[in-house]
Amino acid sequence: MSETVFYILSGFILVFSILTVTSRKILRTAVYLLFVLLGTCGIYFAMDFNFLAAVQLTVYAGGIVVIIIFSIMLTSDLQDKLEAVQFRKIFFSLLAVLIGAVVCISTILNHNFPQVTDKVLDSSMRTIGLRLLSYNEGGFVLPFEIISILLLAAIIGSIMIAKRADSK
């Protein structure tokens, strides 16, 4: 991955992230988030995680954002602007966030990460499929199964929560 590509992508991501959290048009925030996700997807592609990038594209951009936009339409008036945030709140949040970011970034830059050059990443679809269903070392069949149960539970739970209380 060339540095140019990285900087373009990360600039894209950061700009839209900031827009996501500051925009006062609610539908636009969702669209900005979509752009952030697409940028992230580009980063995955650039790092050779093609499958993960595809998942990101379909599940996040295709699924989650659509649900969110759908619910925005259900619950909000699209013409309205969100009310402006109090200055006090912005100030304190910004302060905490900046301190946190500075501390984290300085830690990251000071840390000496080991250089691994002798091993090659194999992220072909075949390897991913085998790993996902393997129960040996490096296999992920148990979390895979647990996630499937979690999804089922979430579906049932969402239906139970969202359905009208008086409907039988």
Binding site: V21, K89, G157
Partner: protein, 105 residues
């Protein structure tokens, strides 16, 4: 490796994204926008996982799978959260977080 992009680059990116999400979480009032900030946070974590996988442990796909599972968890989380938001909206006709303060003393 083909470039001068190191793991630090990615981590700084994800840190910035994370704190932008936190900022959104702290300042936004509308529950759906808060949810969007949470999605930002989760996404930044994913970038981190993937970068670790790529640069530190390329021989196994642990970070990759974790990112996948995080995406799955995010999907469940969004579905449940939106169910809650919709039922709240039915009850209160609004979805501002400041009005959802029943759970205090």
């Amino acid at each position: 490796m083909e470039s001068g992009v190191s793991i630090q680059h990615f981590m700084v990116l994800s840190t910035l994204m994370f704190f932008i999400g936190v900022y959104g979480f702290l300042t936004r009032k509308n529950l759906i926008t808060i949810l969007l900030s949470v999605e930002l946070i989760l996404n930044s974590v994913n970038i981190n996982f993937v970068a670790f996988n790529k640069f530190l442990y390329p021989e196994n796909l642990g970070g990759h799978f974790f990112a996948m599972f995080v995406i799955a968890v995010a999907a469940t989380e969004v579905s449940v959260a939106i169910a809650i938001i919709i039922s709240l909206y039915r009850k209160l006709k609004m979805i501002d977080v400041e009005n959802v303060n029943e759970m205090k003393y």
